[in-house]
């Protein structure tokens, strides 16, 4: 399922299933994917294109009106967001508040450590700077990429006065939708984390090989190898989770 499909499915989770609703969902997804493709062709990257497409979505209320569905109680103002997405969002916010400063601190720490070790290790001390900076930068990049994905979604929520926890009215219809998403989300998160670890480890290895052994010419091999390792881990995770 594409990111757009997941997003639209989440928003439609609040709407009871019917042939009409499914048709509308299909049409909206197709249209959004056409739009997404056009934006990508125009040179935008994945996150920018996704964000723009999402911001043009509109509100779930319009869909409700069109399908003649009752608006749930307590939905005024807020954009109903499936509880799962809301939880993910809150988790992300906490992560962000932690990792961004941590990344910056690491970079500064690297400099400090280097200065301290200079008298002891001489030139080798700068290796520590690079090590810490690589870790710090890795953290910052990782959390900012995630921030990017959320920022456009946040903006579309703000139009409806912020995300509001959705209270499902008809539990039986909601269950099938929920079963699919948590697995995929958990898998994506796990894969993401494993990939970060692999890439950071590769960077570390590369720097060590370079600074301490001077193997700059051959050490670069670690990166394509890491790339393959990431792909392998992704499949492994899929296999394990499918059990």
């Amino acid at each position: 399922m594409s990111r757009i499909e997941v997003y639209v499915n989440n928003l439609f989770a609040a709407i009871p299933d019917s042939r009409e609703a499914r048709e509308m969902k299909r049409n909206i997804i197709d249209s959004m994917e056409d739009n997404y493709q056009a934006l990508r062709d125009a040179g935008k990257n994945e996150n920018e294109a996704f964000g723009e497409v999402v911001s043009q979505f509109g509100t779930v209320d319009e869909i409700r009106e069109a399908l003649g569905v009752q608006t749930g109680a307590g939905q005024e103002g807020g954009t109903p967001v499936p509880p799962e997405m809301l939880e993910d969002y809150l988790v992300f916010r906490k992560k962000f508040a932690l990792l961004l400063p941590a990344g910056i601190v690491l970079c500064v720490l690297g400099l400090v450590v280097m200065l301290f070790l200079e008298p002891l290790l001489g030139d080798m001390a700068s290796a520590f700077l690079f090590l810490f900076a690589a870790l710090g930068a890795g953290l910052i990049v990782y959390i900012c990429l995630e921030e990017d994905s959320w920022s456009k979604i946040e903006k579309s929520w703000k139009r409806g006065q912020g995300p509001v926890r959705y209270q499902p009215e008809e539990a039986p219809e909601e269950e099938p939708e929920r079963e699919v998403s948590p697995h995929k989300k958990r898998r994506k998160r796990l894969t993401g984390r494993i990939n970060s670890v692999i890439m950071l480890a590769a960077t570390l290895w590369f720097l060590v090989q370079g600074f301490w052994l001077g193997h700059w010419g051959t050490a670069w091999v670690v990166f394509p190898v890491a790339g393959v390792a990431c792909a392998l881990m992704k499949e492994l995770v899929k296999l394990v989770m499918e059990r």
């Binding site: 049409n27 509109g58 399908l67």
Partner: protein, 110 residues
């Protein structure tokens, strides 16, 4: 910025007007709206599809499945004779509305 209240009720006119020139599909229609208005109005996905859903229920447009280059089926919409009539009605309604509002517009305001 166009207020959504102002433009509400005329989405039908826009969509039917575009279909007058030939059958089309969702994304193309929304692109056409943006293009014809010179970017001054961009219709939301939900608004567009709610309107199209309603128009289909009313019998103003009909949908059919056509293929696109990637082989995936895509829903196309076509104007029905009843749709054409409804379009004409909407056009006169708009002319009347704008004439009425025009009575209250002043060239210069102190």
């Amino acid at each position: 910025m166009v207020s959504s209240d102002g433009i509400r009720g005329y989405h039908d006119l826009m969509i039917l007007g575009i279909l007058l020139d030939g059958d089309s599909y969702g994304y193309e229609i929304s692109k056409e709206i943006t293009a014809r208005t010179g970017g001054r109005y961009q219709v939301k996905e939900t608004t567009l599809y709610s309107a199209m859903n309603r128009l289909e229920k009313q019998g103003c447009i009909a949908s059919y499945s056509g293929t696109q280059s990637k082989g995936k089926p895509r829903t196309y919409f076509t104007l029905t004779p009843y749709g054409r009539e409804y379009y004409r009605e909407k056009c006169s309604e708009w002319t009347l509305t704008s004439q009425i509002v025009q009575q209250f517009m002043k060239e210069e305001i102190e």
